[in-house]
Symmetry: C2
Subunit: 153 residues, 2 copies
């Protein structure tokens, strides 16, 4: 790509565009509420994320337009001799940009950020219904060594 | 069980016993260092966990003896309308107690704690090599809907 993609921490002004991307997704369209004004639940969650030094909401921008988003959580554990892990969640790219490598750029950015933060492992879970996503992550070097178990409360 | 099991947040005095349990495990024995004095990496990680309001290291005790441990991480996300999730990691029980239901008690405690904290989801990943663990979590109501992908850095 000869376009310049910039990555930065999201601000509250980006939130409407981010929620628009989260809702513009096969699974997200059923569970998100992209409305104007933006439902307060998103604003509250944004502040919880932004005020936590172990969470980073990152946007990918091209010519000042947001074309991708992801959240990275850094967690200290006792296991693996007290190793920190980075967990990637909520990776979405603008539907007009799909297939243009933005997802790859996002994940590479997250991997580098995890190294900067001293993590020994980067992890994520992907819904078994998202067949393309699994192949995408495996191509990037992730190994599907674990089962990802969820329980709704 | 007619024994009384108590759950509480771990203190630094519990750390040696916790690391002993983490090392007394098929996978843990290859990657942990249960030595006296305890390697500093564990003490540093313990302080990082304890000082983070979104991480709880929990021990299960019976007659003042620690027989189980787990870490619960609470994470705010934008997805699912700004929903919080609880992630369970590092679940271990004393080898002398295995098969006596301590694991079930630990996970039930974590589920209740996740509800108290307002989470909409409890999640965990389990190594595909741990066949018994998958069945154990499925019996408790978890669904293996996701692939758990990891990348060592």
């Amino acid at each position: 790509m000869d376009r310049e993609i910039k990555f930065r921490i999201a601000t509250e002004q980006d939130l409407e565009r981010i929620v628009e991307m989260l809702a513009d997704d096969a699974l997200g369209s059923k569970r998100e509420r992209y409305e104007q004004p933006l439902p307060n639940c998103y604003i509250k969650a944004f502040h919880a994320i932004s005020s936590d030094p172990n969470n980073e909401l990152v946007v990918a921008c091209c010519e000042n337009e947001i074309i991708g988003v992801q959240q990275i959580t850094f967690t200290p554990y006792l296991t693996h001799q007290g190793g920190w892990r980075a967990t990637i969640e909520g990776v979405r790219t603008s539907s007009s940009e799909r297939g243009r490598g933005i997802g790859t750029e996002l994940i590479r950015w997250a991997i580098n950020r995890a190294k900067e933060r001293g993590c020994h492992l980067v992890q994520l879970t992907t819904d078994k219904k998202r067949k393309d996503a699994l192949r995408f992550y495996e191509r990037l070097g992730f190994k599907a060594t674990h089962e990802g178990l969820k329980m709704k409360l």
